[in-house]
């Protein structure tokens, strides 16, 4: 049993290890998972709201056969939910995403990538 059990059981198809822990293949997947855990703990959305949003993305046509896009769906579900709850708008989220792309590209190696590094900000 672990502390994130509600999120785990509310997330159909989550890749898990033999011990029942979630399995991430890249760090951003764990970050997306952790943010979802926190938002759920804070009561921003309920277990069933999350499960519904995630399922909606998971059952969209065009999924990869090997399910390697599971966390892509996860991030899409989280994005959708926070815009549906009017925490932010889809446009603002897209702008911020582009801004992070520019910030990363403009950051010299060896320095932390910060949003302020986006030359267009």
């Amino acid at each position: 049993m672990n502390a994130f059990e509600p999120t785990l059981s509310g997330s159909p198809g989550l890749p898990k290890s033999n011990e029942g822990d979630p399995v991430f293949s890249e760090p951003w997947q764990a970050e997306a998972f952790a943010m979802t855990v926190r938002l759920h703990e804070k009561g921003v959305f309920s277990w069933s709201e999350w499960a519904e949003a995630l399922s909606h993305e998971l059952y969209k046509p065009g999924r990869r056969a090997d399910a390697s896009d599971y966390f892509d769906c996860w991030v899409a579900a989280l994005s959708r939910l926070v815009t549906e709850l009017s925490i932010t708008s889809p446009d603002h989220l897209d702008q911020l995403t582009q801004s992070w792309h520019r910030a990363a590209a403009a950051t010299p190696h060896g320095q932390p990538i910060r949003l302020e590094n986006d030359p267009q900000r």
Binding site: D21, I87, D94
Partner: protein
């Protein structure tokens, strides 16, 4: 290459000072950062709390292929030699490739020399080989202190090295990422590679720890 005083040699194979922009976010990395930004601004999450949750999965992220590389190097002298001369190819021969795993160099701990790797401020950390970096590792103060006073930093991690053992500090770059091959623990002669891999911690592959002693397998 820059030399530093004290007992740490700092090998600086990079062009940090040049105008060299090699950072790149994947679509998903950028989207997750955007979500984190907006949720932080709204006061709904605290990035430090997110780091803490992620850190609990430290051993669950990435295939941690490095432990298997180390165990093989301990067991097979030919593989160790290959790793020493061309780590990228030797690691690649095990099927471990990928954007983050490319251009690796293996640095071997010996009774005379302990190796320590710094620099994870950007996207160059080879997490597909080493697993997720520890949260503190990303902090700029760690990096600068490790260069100036590696022995003091290791002391804080509970790693006390023999008096005469020197410490070499390696700065990971976008072009070249390092994996430390820790010394094989005593009393592990009979162990197979799988059992040996269990002794290889993430910290031992970045030099902030040692391999676990025999009999301390999880």
């Amino acid at each position: 290459m820059t030399s530093h005083s004290g007992d740490g040699d700092h090998h600086h194979h990079d062009d940090h000072d040049h105008d060299h922009h090699d950072n790149h976010f994947s679509a998903m990395q950028a989207r997750v950062k955007a979500l984190e930004t907006v949720l932080t601004q709204k006061g709904l999450i605290d990035p430090a709390a997110i780091d803490v949750i992620v850190d609990t999965y430290e051993t669950k992220i990435g295939p941690r292929n490095g432990a298997r590389v180390v165990a093989k190097a301990w067991s097979e002298p030919d593989f160790a030699d290959w790793l020493r001369s061309d780590a990228t190819a030797a690691i690649g021969s095990l099927g471990y490739t990928g954007r983050q795993g490319e251009h690796m160099r293996a640095v071997f701990n010996t009774p005379e020399t302990h190796n320590l790797v710094v620099c994870t401020l950007c996207s160059c950390y080879p997490w597909s080989v080493l697993g997720l970096p520890p949260v503190w590792y990303k902090a700029p103060p760690y990096r600068s202190r490790a260069v100036i006073d590696p022995r003091g930093v290791l002391d804080e991690f509970g790693v006390t090295l023999p008096e005469g053992q020197r410490i070499r500090v390696w700065d990971s770059t976008a072009e070249l990422r390092y994996i430390v091959i820790p010394e094989r623990p005593d009393g592990t002669d009979g162990l197979d590679q799988k059992a040996l891999a269990d002794l290889v911690t993430r910290d031992s592959m970045i030099g902030t720890g040692l391999a676990k002693p025999a009999g301390d397998m999880r």
